[in-house]
């Protein structure tokens, strides 16, 4: 799963599979982190009622 794992090999298969996997995980992680931080900021700054 990680380059320091004993089964890791620097080949095309690992690069594509794990590249795609961590790319997706990163997007989700960054997206959710942004939402949490923005929500905390909005709460602290007591932004008015936000409709969606």
């Amino acid at each position: 799963m990680f380059p320091f794992c004993f089964e890791w090999a620097w080949d095309i298969g690992h690069s594509i599979f794990f590249g795609g996997f961590w790319y997706a995980i990163s997007i989700l992680g960054v997206g959710m982190t942004y939402c949490f931080l923005k929500a905390a900021y909005d709460t602290v700054n007591d932004k008015g009622d936000s409709h969606h």
Partner: protein, 418 residues
Amino acid sequence: MDDALIPEGAKRCAFPIFMIGIIIVGAVLLWGVYAMFLCWFKGLNQTNMNDYYGFALWIWADLAVIAVGGGAFFTGLLKYIFKVDDLKNIINFAVIIGFICYSSALLILAIDIGQPLRGWFIFWHANVHSMLTEVAFCLSCYFAVLTIEFIPNILENRQVNKVPFFHHLAHNMHGVMAVFAATGAFLSFFHQGSLGGVAGVMFGRPFAYREGLLIWPWTFFLFTWSAAAFGPCFTLLVTKITEMITGKKLVGDKTVNLLAKISGWMITTYIIAKIIDTIYWAFVTAPSMGFKLGHFYSNNGFYGYWILITEVILCGVVPGLLLINKSTRENPATRTIAIILGVIGVCLNRWVMVLQIMAVPVLSFDTWALYIPSWQEVATTILPVAYGIILIAVAYRYLPVFPQELELNESADTAAQN
């Protein structure tokens, strides 16, 4: 006692009636959980699988729920990426159905691996040459996406939404939902495709083997296409069932007809590709491997040509035509028939690609390996259905799932009050 949690202005049945329903379905759920534990603690001798027959009924269920759950990614893609705004009236429910389908798929995989505590091996000790590894990666990530898409709906519960942080969190998640939806569509494309790809590269199973484009057999594309085509049918079917049980109109006709129309065109184009694929396989691929078409549909007590005709014509061509034709699409009876046929069609396709390929003899001295699932397999296959009913019931009762509900039932409620 739970009135404070019910969406403002919405009418729900009395709490005791609701609980009686939950307890009845919960009993079915517990039956499935019991069978699941039997499979975990006693092993695969609880199933009717054997050396010939390596796929249990739950593997068909796994592929079927993933296919019908495709309505979530496709509706999300249309709503958030292609900006089809009318679908906002059904997107929450599509996401919940997708969440149920994908959590069920993961649960079924947990049963299938026998030792769920080793589930993490698939990530840590991944075989990067396996399409099933790609399926597992994408499935897990896409389930995370569906969870993220479901969270704002939970945060919009009347009481939860009073907490300022949760209110802002729901708002901000809606703001960047297009990013999550795009990620979900990307992941779903690959895992649906890979499930089809697994069947397509089975050189030893001429019934499933397909040629294709570079490393991708035709089945890779047909699986993704069929999930996007028939998934919305399942969303519409569950919506219809929910409306029948609740006795309320929950989604407006405009939205239903729009989704039915999109689904109809997807089904029609898919089924044309499927027919071309079948003809090429029957007259070129299979003969090149020494098989005639009749070999796959004769000399056994179950699999005849009827299954091919039912899947392609009755549950493919017919629903496609019914849904692209304006008069039959806008007629509630024919539209309902079409979406039922569509859901049966995609489930039948997955049955054929999972179970029939195992049953067909591949050597001259072999016989058909027909099998009847054990009660444990049946119970573990019904388990996700019971779980889904409970989750939909709870979500409908306590969450603002259907934005049009009040507007569509306003006149009926006023008449009832008078």
